[in-house]
C-alpha cells in the first residue's frame, strides 16, 4: 500500500494510505484527546473531542475520521485545535452531573482525566441539568446513573460489531437521546462486561464491583482466564486478601482487549459463602468440618486400604481440566507414587482409540489471531457464543470480512440454511455448522446488524 507522508505537530510520519490522522498520531505517540474513538470499533466521529487543526482546512477536523493525505500538516495543540477541544469539553460537561466523588469510575475516567486538561474551573451553563432515568439491564452492568452518559455510542457499536448482538441502542434524539436496551430488557451477551470497560465515563459500571473499592486501592496481578479455553490474559485486582474484580489484559494474539463475562465475573465465586474452604468428612450421612490433619489421614488410610485389598491399579484420578498444569503434574506424581497409572483430565471424552496414534499435543492448528481471516470454517458440535465467546467474536470478524469481497445476500441465506438444514446441502462458501448446535452458525454471525450510527467505510 502506498505510503503517505504527513506532519503532526512538526514531526514527520509515514503511514499507509487509508489511515486516519488518529492512527498516524498513535504511531508517533502524539496523544489526541478522544471519547468515541476506539481502535477496535467503527468510527463514529460523534464526540468531536479529537478536533485538530489541519493546514488549508477551513475548520477543525476530527482526527479519528480524517484520512491522511500527502503533505498534510496537522496541529493537535494549536490555538484553533485547543479552542475547539475546549469548546467540546464545555458542552460535554454542561449536562454531566460532575459527581466524581460518588462515581465508581472516579480515578479511571476518561472524562475526568481530560476535564483536567480541557475543562474550565467554572461553567458558563447556569440552567437546569438534564436528568436521565436509570435502567436495569441485568445483574452485570449497572446503568444506575445514565445522566453521566456522554453519548459516545461505544457500547452500542460494541454490541453491533463485536458481540454480534445489538442489545443497547440510543433512543430518542437531540438532548433527549439516551442509551438503553429495548423497553426493560436485559443485556444478555456473553461479552457484555466489555461495555463497562469501553464506557469512558461512569454511566456503565460493574454491578458486582459497585461501591466496592477505588481503582487506586487495588493491587494488580496478571493471570490467565480459567473459563474460556483460550487462556485469555487478565488482571486480577485485589484489595488486601480479597479479589475485587477481574479485567482483561490486552493481548492481541489471544483476547485482544476483551474478556468473556464468565471470566470477568467468576471471581465472585471466590468470595461466595457456599465455597468449600475447609476439609469436610461425611460421617453418618452428614458433612462435618475437620482439620487438615484428620482429613489427610483419612484419605491416606483409605488409599492404603484400597491398594492393600485390590491392588494399586484400583486407584484412579480424574483431574478437572480447569486445573493448572502444575496442579495436574502434582496429581499425576501422587497417583504414580501410589503405583497407579490411571490419571486423566479428559472428563468429556469417551473414545480413546486415537491414544498413542496421534503425535504431539492436540491443538487448534493455527494461531488464534488467524481465525479472523479464515475464508472457510467448519464448526462441529459447539455453540460457539456460549462455549468460546471470544473465538466467536473472531469468527464474526471473518464473516464480516467475507462480506466485502463476496456477495452478501447469498451468504446470509446459506448461513441460515447451513444451520437450519444441518447438512442437507453442499457446504456453503464461508461457513458451515454441523452437529449438535445448528443455531450456533446464525448466532455467531449475529442477529443484530452491524454498521450502525454514522461513519462507515467503503465495503470495497
Amino acid at each position: 500500500m502506498a505510503q503517505i507522508n504527513i506532519e503532526i505537530d512538526g514531526k514527520a510520519v509515514q503511514v499507509p494510505a487509508g489511515q486516519t490522522v488518529m492512527d498516524a498520531a498513535n504511531q508517533i505517540g502524539v496523544y489526541i484527546p478522544h471519547f468515541c474513538y476506539h481502535k477496535k470499533l467503527s468510527i463514529a466521529a460523534n464526540c468531536r473531542m479529537c478536533l485538530v487543526q489541519i493546514e488549508k482546512a477551513p475548520k477543525p477536523m476530527p482526527a479519528c475520521a480524517t484520512p491522511v493525505a500527502e503533505g498534510m500538516k496537522v496541529q493537535t495543540h494549536s490555538e484553533q485545535a485547543v479552542t475547539a477541544q475546549k469548546g467540546v469539553m464545555e458542552f460535554l460537561l454542561i449536562n454531566h452531573p460532575l459527581d466524581c466523588p460518588i462515581c465508581d469510575q472516579g480515578g479511571e475516567c476518561q472524562l475526568q482525566d481530560l476535564a483536567v486538561g480541557y475543562g474550565a474551573s467554572a461553567s458558563r451553563y447556569q440552567e437546569d441539568k438534564r436528568v436521565v432515568f436509570h435502567k436495569n439491564v441485568g445483574p452485570l452492568i449497572s446503568m444506575e446513573e445514565m445522566t453521566r452518559c456522554i453519548h459516545c455510542t461505544r457500547c452500542v457499536r460494541f454490541g453491533q460489531e463485536i458481540a454480534g448482538i445489538m442489545e443497547l441502542g440510543m433512543s430518542g434524539r437531540g438532548e433527549h437521546a439516551e442509551i438503553q436496551s429495548f423497553v426493560g430488557r436485559t443485556v444478555d451477551s456473553e461479552l457484555s462486561g466489555n461495555m463497562i470497560d469501553l464506557c469512558p465515563v461512569g454511566a456503565l459500571t460493574s454491578k458486582p464491583f459497585r461501591y466496592q473499592a477505588r481503582t487506586w486501592e487495588l493491587a494488580r496481578r496478571k493471570s490467565i482466564a480459567p473459563h474460556d479455553s483460550l487462556g485469555s490474559n487478565l488482571v486480577v485486582q485485589v484489595k488486601g486478601e480479597r479479589v475485587m474484580r477481574v479485567l482483561p489484559l490486552e493481548n492481541e494474539a489471544l483476547n485482544e482487549c476483551w474478556l468473556s463475562d464468565k471470566d470477568r465475573f467468576s471471581y465472585e465465586g471466590l468470595n461466595s459463602p457456599d465455597r468449600l474452604t475447609a476439609p469436610m468428612l461425611k460421617q453418618g450421612g452428614e458433612w462435618k468440618e475437620v482439620d487438615w490433619q484428620t482429613a489427610l489421614r483419612y484419605v491416606a488410610e483409605g488409599l492404603a486400604g484400597i491398594t492393600k485389598e485390590h491392588g494399586a491399579d484400583a486407584i484412579a484420578a480424574l483431574v478437572s481440566p480447569h486445573s493448572t498444569l502444575e496442579e495436574m503434574a502434582l496429581a499425576a506424581q501422587l497417583v504414580r507414587g501410589l503405583g497407579s497409572d490411571n490419571v486423566d483430565f479428559r472428563l468429556r471424552q469417551t473414545d480413546f482409540r486415537a491414544d498413542g496414534k496421534r503425535r504431539g499435543a492436540p491443538w487448534l492448528g493455527m494461531p488464534v489471531a488467524d481465525l479472523n481471516s479464515l475464508d472457510r470454517i467448519l464448526v462441529v458440535g459447539s455453540f460457539l457464543r456460549k462455549d468460546h465467546p471470544l473465538v466467536a467474536a473472531r469468527l464474526r470478524q471473518a464473516v464480516k470480512k467475507g462480506r466485502g469481497t463476496q456477495h452478501r445476500p447469498r451468504h446470509r441465506r446459506r448461513l441460515a440454511d447451513a444451520g437450519a438444514r444441518q447438512g442437507n446441502r453442499r457446504p456453503g462458501p464461508l461457513w458451515r455448522s454441523a452437529g449438535r448446535h445448528p443455531r450456533g452458525a446464525r448466532e455467531v454471525e449475529g442477529r443484530g446488524r452491524a454498521g450502525g450510527a454514522g461513519g462507515g467505510h467503503a465495503d470495497g
Binding site: I165, E167, G169, F182, V183
Partner: protein, 157 residues
C-alpha cells in the same frame, strides 16, 4: 399481531428494496402498525422487529427518533399544529391557542373523553398554508381559521 391487510401493506413496502435490505421498510411498517393499533406498544415493535429480521432495540431507535410515531397511547384523533416561525407569522400560534382553549388541554395532553391529543409540530413543509395542522398524521388541514378549527373539531368524532 397485525392484520393480513397490514401485512400486505408492509410486504408491498419490503418489495421496494433489495432482498437483503428488508430493514429499509421499518419506517413504513411502523407507520402501518400505528395506523392499525393507534400507537406502538412494545409487542408491536417486537413483532415488526421479528418480521423484518431486526434487533428490537434497532426498531425502538427508529420509533423514538421520528416524531410522528406514538410511543404512548393517544386520543382517537391526534392534532399536530405547526407553530414554527413562518406559520407563527401567519397565525399558527393563535390556532394552537384556540385549540388549547377549546379542548382545555395543553400540548402533549389528551382530552378527558379520549377524543383528542394535541401536539406541537415542527415544520410540515406547508408554510404557505398557515395556519396548518395534521390530523392523525395523514390529513393536512390548511388555512385553519378559528371557524374552520371549530368545524373540524365538531366533525371529528
Amino acid at each position: 399481531m397485525l392484520s393480513p391487510e397490514a401485512l400486505k401493506k408492509i410486504d408491498r413496502e419490503v418489495a421496494k428494496f433489495p432482498p437483503d435490505q428488508k430493514q429499509s421498510a421499518v419506517m413504513a411498517a411502523l407507520a402501518v402498525a400505528q395506523d392499525e393499533k393507534g400507537w406502538l406498544p412494545t409487542e408491536t415493535m417486537d413483532f415488526v422487529a421479528a418480521y423484518l429480521g431486526m434487533a428490537p432495540i434497532a426498531v425502538y431507535e427508529v420509533a423514538s427518533f421520528y416524531a410522528m410515531y406514538n410511543l404512548k397511547p393517544v386520543g382517537r384523533h391526534k392534532l399536530t399544529v405547526c407553530t414554527n416561525l413562518p406559520c407563527a407569522l401567519s397565525g399558527g400560534t393563535h390556532a394552537a391557542a384556540h385549540l388549547q382553549n377549546r379542548l382545555g388541554i395543553g400540548f402533549n395532553e389528551t382530552t378527558a373523553d379520549g377524543r383528542f391529543t394535541l401536539k406541537e409540530g415542527e415544520c410540515m413543509g406547508a408554510c404557505g398554508d398557515a395556519p396548518v395542522l395534521l390530523v392523525d398524521n395523514k390529513r393536512m388541514c390548511s388555512w385553519m381559521s378559528n371557524d374552520k378549527l371549530d368545524k373540524l373539531l365538531d366533525d371529528l368524532k
